[in-house]
């Protein structure tokens, strides 16, 4: 497939933004400015960037605890994401959610859900609401391959197929659920084939190639928005870093990780654009500079942010009467 320069540069910029943002998170975590669990998206950027590229502004997104990349690619402001991880009022959830629970009403971003499989039924319901209100929207639901073993996955897949709900199931198959390799968690490791068996179109995609992801997502979204019912995409990718900051990675070899790094999604697109003569060194430099500036500003803003007064601890447990 061909790619125009603007689109190519845009996609590259998004990949780089997420990559650098995550790298900064590592620093801030080591500096204990970010606390709790921190799950990085490094290596998997092409999945969120490619899928978001295919979605419209009114489509809904449901993500997991590994949600920075999805939020950034969806246009959630970097400083709001960073402020959230620093526990500030300026954060996406006023500091109440943290890294695993980013939310943004304006972006129709229904959150990082930290229960594996827990976001799937919500996605089905969001799609049901669109269908019942005759809104031509798509709900994109991201989840890892580990979630495929959960009952909530099964129940939602069937409900979506049975009711023709406009859901785009985005299975991020990075081959591991924490330390559990796919073949030790699934009897049938061909997830796309398995999903097709539950009554919806499903196919695998090279999740490291953002253009392949964007292209597949385009076709899938067209089908779903057109009323064709749900689609399941198996996005074959890899987690370059540990599962979380506490993971010594005893379950996989350095060689395996290195081999996958050879197909770094940022590198792949960079080479591709260079080969097509669409990317000059100064373009890349500009992207890196703009990204660095954006992230620096985000960190500064987050640090300068305010802490929710402790007296407000129990706010948002129940809704506040509209003033």
């Amino acid at each position: 497939m061909t790619v125009e320069r603007d689109r190519g540069l845009h996609l590259l910029r998004e990949l780089v933004r997420i990559r650098r943002f995550e790298e900064r998170c590592v620093e801030l975590y080591s500096a204990t400015e970010i606390r709790g669990f921190l799950h990085l998206y490094i290596g998997e950027e092409a999945v969120a960037v490619g899928v978001m590229d295919a979605l419209g502004p009114d489509d809904a997104i449901v993500a997991t605890y590994r949600d920075h990349g999805h939020a950034l690619a969806r246009g959630v402001p970097a400083e709001a994401v960073m402020a959230e991880m620093l526990g500030k009022v300026e954060g996406t959830s006023r500091g109440r959610g943290g890294s695993m629970h980013l939310f943004d009403r304006a972006a129709h971003f229904y959150g990082g859900n930290a229960i594996v499989g827990g976001g799937l039924p919500l996605a089905g319901g969001l799609a049901l609401a669109d269908m019942m209100q005759h809104r031509p929207h798509v709900t994109a639901c991201f989840f890892g391959e580990g979630a495929v073993a959960e009952g909530e996955f099964h129940e939602t897949m069937n409900l979506a197929a049975l009711w023709h709900l406009p859901v785009l199931f985005c299975c991020e198959n990075n081959l591991y659920a924490m330390g559990t390799a796919l073949e030790r968690s699934e009897a049938v490791t061909d997830l796309a084939m398995r999903a097709a068996g539950s009554g919806m179109p499903a196919w695998p995609i090279d999740g490291l190639d953002v253009l392949a992801v964007a292209d597949a997502a385009d076709r899938a979204v067209l089908h779903v928005r057109g009323g064709g019912g749900p689609v399941f995409l198996e996005l074959r990718t890899y987690r370059f870093r540990a599962h979380s900051m506490y993971d010594p990675e005893r379950y996989r070899s350095k060689d395996e990780v290195e081999a996958w790094r050879m197909r770094d999604p940022v590198g792949l697109l960079t080479e591709r654009l260079r080969a097509d003569g669409l990317l000059a060194d100064e373009d890349l430099a500009a992207i890196e500079d703009e990204t660095a500036a954006e992230i620096d500003a985000a960190v500064e803003a987050a640090r300068a942010g305010t802490l929710e007064p402790v007296e407000d601890l129990t706010r948002f447990v129940t809704s506040e009467a509209p003033a």
Binding site: R96, F103, G111, G118, G124, G125, M132, T318
Partner: protein, 323 residues
């Protein structure tokens, strides 16, 4: 007019479906079967399969879908056949419905109503006789109500639907066939207040749902012995109307809490603790509890009856307080 608890609940459903097109009923066999307890009988024919939705047997899936649909702007009424099966949906109710508003820093409220039958008394044995109201009453972010009268069966649903946050409605299985009068102009129920069902001066009997009738029966017997019992119907189990409870006990100086839940960790324990905390120096005797025996409810009639709180138990407990 003369009616039954079941019909009153059905009228409330019909009324809600008529008044607000965002309202729909979803659950197992609510449509063609007419509801496992015939509550929704006829509603499918009246409102169609879009708004009276039969679901597959997927408690987590369709309860989560109800939560998601609420996020998407609908006003779902989700029916779980009985509280026993709600164990399969607790992840969605506790980890999502109860937390989303807070985790999103106030961005996403969840206006879902979840109805379920509860309780024992019909010889359905250990997997169909739970009273887990105490569990739900423990969870911040959800409101739990228990209509114990025909008026409340008719009047609580609408107020529950007006609540911007999740409401769980417990309908005791033995109440559906209860007959009685219902004023045609019966007003929506105030679900913030407990109700004094029988004024009295010598002691306070506190009950809810399936035990209200037994408490009233005990009050009658006590009157024969010259003891004037006040009967308080908690009505809303979370948040508890502590003020009404404490005010009553402060007048009567004695309290017996009647609860079909297992004694240990029962809602009655919370009520007892709150009374002690707020009216200790007004108490002439320790708060007493009449609860279910600590046993999975047995099938045999004589054993089931012995396991549940009965009028004689309440009368005996009241007399022990020396009222």
């Amino acid at each position: 007019m003369k009616t039954t608890y079941r019909e009153a609940m059905r009228d409330a459903l019909r009324d809600a479906l008529t008044r607000d097109e965002r309202v729909f009923l979803m659950g197992e066999d609510v449509g063609r079967y007419g509801g496992c307890f015939a509550v929704s009988l006829g509603l499918l024919e009246e409102f169609g399969p879009e708004r009276v939705r039969d679901t597959p047997l997927s408690e987590s899936g369709f309860v989560g879908a109800g939560i998601g649909a609420a996020l998407g702007g609908m006003r779902p009424i989700v029916e779980i056949m009985t509280v026993n099966f709600s164990l399969l949906a607790l992840d969605q109710i506790v980890n999502n419905a109860a937390t989303l508003l807070h985790m999103s820093g106030g961005q996403f409220n969840v206006p879902v109503v979840i109805r379920m039958a509860t309780g024992a008394g019909r010889q359905l044995a250990a997997q169909h006789s739970h009273s887990l109201e105490a569990w739900y009453a423990h969870v911040p972010g959800i409101r739990a109500v228990a209509p114990a009268t025909i008026e409340d069966a008719r009047g609580m649903l609408w107020t529950a639907l007006c609540d911007p946050d999740p409401v769980v409605v417990f309908e005791h299985g033995t109440l559906y066939n209860v007959e009685g009068e219902l004023a045609d102009d019966a007003a929506p129920t105030d679900i913030d207040r407990a109700a004094i069902r029988r004024p009295g001066s010598d002691l306070t009997l506190i009950a809810y749902g399936g035990t209200l009738g037994k408490a009233l029966g005990a009050a009658e017997e006590l009157r024969a012995d010259g003891i004037d019992a006040e009967v308080v119907d908690l009505r809303t189990l979370r948040p508890l109307d502590t003020a009404t409870i404490v005010e009553s006990v402060t007048r009567t100086h004695r309290a017996v809490v009647v609860d079909e839940g297992w004694r240990t960790g029962s809602l009655a324990a919370e009520v007892s603790a709150q009374i002690t905390e707020n009216a200790f120096y007004d108490l002439d005797a320790p708060v007493a509890r009449v609860c279910s025996a600590e046993v999975p409810i047995p099938y045999a009639r004589h054993l089931e009856e012995a396991a549940l709180p009965q009028v004689p138990d309440i009368v005996a407990a009241a007399k022990e307080l020396g009222a």
